[in-house]
Structures are given as C-alpha cells and as structure tokens.
C-alpha cells in the first residue's frame, strides 16, 4: 500500500511537471514560482470542500480556474511583449513569497497551521487527471500553438518576425501551465488530506524545475519519467534526505554545463525506437 501511495503521489507531481514543461521546456521561459500555482489550486479547491462542502468534481475545476486566473494577474504585466523575460522570473519569485504570506495570515486558509481537508482524490481521479493532462499537453503542443512556442524558445525575435504575437503566445503558455499545476495542487490537497503554506515554496518550485531540466527541455516523456524518479527515489533513500536538495542544485549546474538537452532533450520516448528521429538544435 505504501508503494502505491508513493506512486500516486508521483503521478500528482508528474502533472505539475507537465505544466512547467509547457512553459519552460517548450516556450523557453524561466520560472521559479510554479509551486505557487500548485498552492493556489490546492487551497482554492481545499477551501471549497472544507468550508462549503462543495463536491470534489466542482472543486477540482475551480482549483484549476483559480490557478489559471492568478497566472493572468501576474502574466499580463510581466510578459508584455517588449519586456525581457527576466521580469517574469523576478515577479514570480515575489509572487510566491507574497502568496505564502497571504496564506499564512488569512483565517479562510487556517493560517500557517494548515488545512485538513477530506481524502477525496481516489486513484481513479489521479490516474484520470494524469491521462487528461498528458492528452491535453500532447495535443496542445502538436497544435499551431505548440509550434509557436518552440519558435519563441529558439529565437523570439525571428518568431515575432514570422508574425507570432509574443505576448499572447507566452501568456497562453503560462495559462495552460498554471491550469495543469492547479489540477496537480487540487489532487495533491485531497490526496494528502492536509495542506500547509510551506508546502508550496521555492523548494517545491526548484524540484519541479529540476525535473523539467533533467528530463529534457522540449520533451514531454523525459520530464515525466524524471518526475517519477525524483518523487520515488527520496522515499527509498530516506536516510539521505538532507542531501537531496544539494544534489538537485548540483544536478542543475552539471546538466547546464555538460548536457543542456537533459535526458531526452527535444525527443520523446517513442521516438527513440525510430530511425528518423528529429534532432533539435542544441545551443
């Protein structure tokens, strides 16, 4: 049963990693605050089921919508076409901190003591959510929009010359990734049956980012596999828990220096068995 629980938790994390993969892996923008969207999804759905006994099938989309809306609040001022993407990275860092302060001081969220919600995410919900996210992400990235995102990642100026509205495309990418993170958060809250503001800080954002980078930018299957490993491995190596975060940090630096394409950069697991696989440009 313990193994099943760890695997389900890994599935929940995989959804959030999929979300960040759309934004960082495919659109090439840096984010250190996606845990905030996970937190918003968790708290929005948790508050609904806890205070007002809203059924789970309503609270779950509500969590996703809340995360999506908050992404617009922060995305619209910071991603405006002519601003550097650094503004977004800085703003979302502050956003994560401000959100934590708010969650810790609102009576609605029960402050820093955390919120005990009901255990409503059954394995069916989690696996269904993961399947939904995988299908949505895959189809979305194969669409016109996915091609636009890759064009922006490779060269924003050239993409703009080709007629892509940078601001709209980046905002859309952020919105989709935030909605997926919100879904992950809502499932997480009702799986663990307990949420606390400290669960959604920079540490969590770093783990998401490390999964996307180590799995490979521009790949869906790579980050998903790595997310599974990153969630389940520390459970097996409990004794080394303290060294997990230094290891993530070192991993990020080493990957950037020696293998910036990550595990499966610009490729998918299915593509490894074909000979005509597409090899992307690695700058």
């Amino acid at each position: 049963m313990y193994e099943v629980n760890v695997a389900l938790l890994a599935c929940v994390n995989m959804i959030a990693v999929l979300g960040l993969s759309v934004f960082t892996g495919f659109t090439g923008l840096f984010s250190l605050g996606h845990a905030a969207f996970v937190g918003i999804g968790a708290y929005a759905s948790g508050v609904l089921t806890y205070h007002w006994n809203v059924p789970f099938f309503v609270a779950l989309p509500a969590g996703m919508a809340a995360a999506g809306l908050s992404s617009l609040v922060i995305g619209i001022p910071t991603l405006r076409a002519r601003l550097r993407s650094d503004y977004f990275a800085i703003a979302i860092l502050g956003f994560g901190e401000a959100l934590r302060v708010c969650l810790e001081n609102l009576s609605l969220t029960n402050g820093a003591r955390g919120l005990s919600v009901d255990n409503l995410s059954s394995p069916a919900w989690i696996l269904g959510g993961l399947a939904f996210s995988l299908i949505v992400t895959r189809n979305f990235l194969k669409s016109r929009f996915g091609t636009m995102f890759v064009a922006i990642r490779e060269d924003p100026v050239a993409a703009e010359m080709a007629g892509i509205d940078l601001f709209r495309a980046r905002l859309l990418s952020l919105f989709v990734s935030a909605v997926l993170c919100g879904l992950s958060g809502a499932l997480l809250a009702h799986r663990l049956a307990f949420i606390q503001p400290v669960m959604f800080t920079l540490t969590q954002s770093t783990q998401l980012l490390a999964s996307v980078i180590a799995g490979g930018m521009g790949s869906i299957s790579g980050p998903v596999i790595v997310a599974f490993v990153f969630t389940s491995l520390p459970e097996m190596l409990r004794a080394l828990n303290m060294w997990r975060l230094p290891a993530y940090g070192l991993l990020l630096v080493l990957i950037m220096i020696y293998r910036p394409q990550g595990l499966l950069g610009y490729r998918e697991l299915t593509g490894l068995f074909r000979f005509d696989r597409f090899r992307g440009r690695i700058p």
Binding site: T24, V73, I90, G94, N105, M242, L245, M256
Partner: protein
C-alpha cells in the same frame, strides 16, 4: 517617530541597494539574472560571523574579511557555473538555471553542514542611539546607511574614473567589440563578479547584524531584484534609488499599516510599476536585442 522610521527605512534601503548594485552589475555585463547572488550574501554573512565569534575581530576587520571572502566565492561561482556557458554563448535561460542550481546547492550545503540554527552577531553597536530633534536614531541605522552610500559612491568613481571601469562600461555596451579592442574579457568578468561579491559581503554582514544569520537569509535578495526593477534593470544609479525607495516605503508600510503586509506590498508595487513604468525610474530601453 516619522524621522526615526525614515532613517530605519533608509538604512534598510541602503542594504537593499548594496545587494541590488551587485545584481545589476552582473546583469548589465552578462544580461542574465544571477539568482546565486543571495547565496553569496548568505555565505558572506557566515564568513563575517566566523571572524566575529571565533577570532573576536572588530567590525572593520569582519567587514573586510567578509568582502574579500564573498568576492572570491563569487568569482569561483562564475568560473565553475557560468564560464563554460558564457564561452559557448548559451541562452540566458541556461545561465539562470545554472545560477538557481548554485543557489540551491550552496544554501542547502550550509543547511546540511552548519545546520539551520539562527546565529546572532556580537553586539557591535549595543543599543546606542543618537538624539536628533527629539527623536532617537539608532547608531546602527545611521552607520549602515552611511557605509552603503559610501560604498556605492566608491563603485561609481571606480567605474567612471579608472581604466578597468572604462573597460567594464565598454563591456556592458558590447562584449565582442570590447574583446577586439584588446580587453581580457575573462579578467573583466572576474573583476565584475568580485565587485558584486564584495558588495554582497557588506550586505551580508549588515543583514546579519540587523537580523540573524541563517541558511535562507539570502532569500531577501528578492527585495534586491525588486529594487533593481524599480530603478531599471542594469542601471547602477537606478539600483541605489530603487533600493532606497523600496526600503523607505516598506518601512512606512510596516510601521503605519501592518508589518505582515510588508512583503505583499513590495510585490504589488513591482506589478504596478511593471504596468505603468516598465523600464523603471532610471532604466533605458529594456527590449531584447537581436
């Protein structure tokens, strides 16, 4: 009361400015956000703490040791984590990820080896105060403010008056051209990182004296990034003004409104500023160039 709040705000703002200047300096030369800056500040504070508690040095020597130590650390950081990326002209996204990796690594190494305990500096100033016109001003506040302004002024002189400073300004403009003119860009970047690290060291010591020394104290650089955006990314006078403005406004909010809302206020201010004044107070055009 108001004067007292103002001086406290200016003193905190001075520390923000010290951090923002180092961050801005690296941003203007390599055009990426150095998220490892906070970790260098934290390590600078630990170096200062070790000198003050183990060797019982005075404030001057503690600050000097911390400046040199943090400067060297910052240069090492560049050599290990950024030099390879910089040479192969990797996109700034890669540099940012590498910087974040460094920050996470250094912070958690301290956490794993030294521990998460909060340490306090010995009292250099005690509770000594100066009375001006009926309000009492803390000596620490006045000293921190004076040192911050002095250090930034010295940096300004260095950048505008010396040969190395001219090379740095040329590098900010166009690194390739600068290297064609015979400037050793590796050395230039090492000097820039040393300066940023030195400022981080001073900021770390002051933060440590004012609050505590602990592994995640570097997170306060969030405020430095916000200060840099307020002043305009990459502009040195902007970093100074942005730091002071942010420090004063924050202190006013936490004194007169609510100290809980302080961080929320800073963040809201950043968003508001990005909407109405996206290039900051002193910024130039910040478009991505071809």
């Amino acid at each position: 009361m108001f004067l007292q709040t103002l001086v406290t705000g200016l003193s905190i703002g001075g520390i923000y400015a010290l951090m923002a200047v180092g961050y801005s300096l690296i941003f203007s030369v390599l055009s990426f956000s150095n998220f490892a800056h906070g970790a260098v500040i934290m390590l600078g504070a630990y170096i200062g703490l070790a000198l003050a508690t183990k060797l019982h040095l005075g404030l001057g020597l503690v600050a000097a040791g911390s400046v040199v130590g943090a400067g060297i650390l910052s240069v090492c950081n560049e050599r290990v984590a950024y030099a390879a990326l910089r040479r192969r002209r990797a996109p700034s996204l890669y540099l940012m990820i590498s910087a974040m990796g460094c920050s996470v690594f250094l912070e958690n190494m301290v956490y794993a080896t030294i521990g998460s305990r909060f340490y306090a500096f010995p009292e250099f100033f005690g509770r000594r105060v100066v009375s001006v016109g009926g309000s009492t001003l803390s000596l620490l506040d006045l000293f921190a403010f004076a040192v911050s302004i002095g250090a930034i002024l010295a940096l300004h002189l260095f950048i505008t008056r010396t040969k190395m400073g001219i090379a740095i300004r040329a590098g900010v403009n166009d690194m390739t051209m600068c290297s064609l003119m015979g400037v050793n860009t590796d050395r230039l970047i090492a000097v820039v990182f040393f300066l940023a690290g030195a400022f981080a060291g001073v900021a770390g010591v002051f933060l440590g004296i004012r609050y505590f020394v602990y592994p995640t104290m570097g997170w306060v650089t969030n405020k430095a990034y916000i200060a840099a955006v307020i002043g305009g990314l990459g502009s040195l006078p902007g970093a100074l003004i942005g730091g002071l403005v942010l420090g004063v406004l924050e202190t006013l909010v936490s004194t007169y409104v609510s100290s809980v809302l302080r961080d929320v206020f800073s963040f809201t201010m950043l968003i508001a500023l990005l909407i109405w004044l996206p290039n900051g107070l002193m910024g130039h055009e910040t478009e991505d160039k071809v």
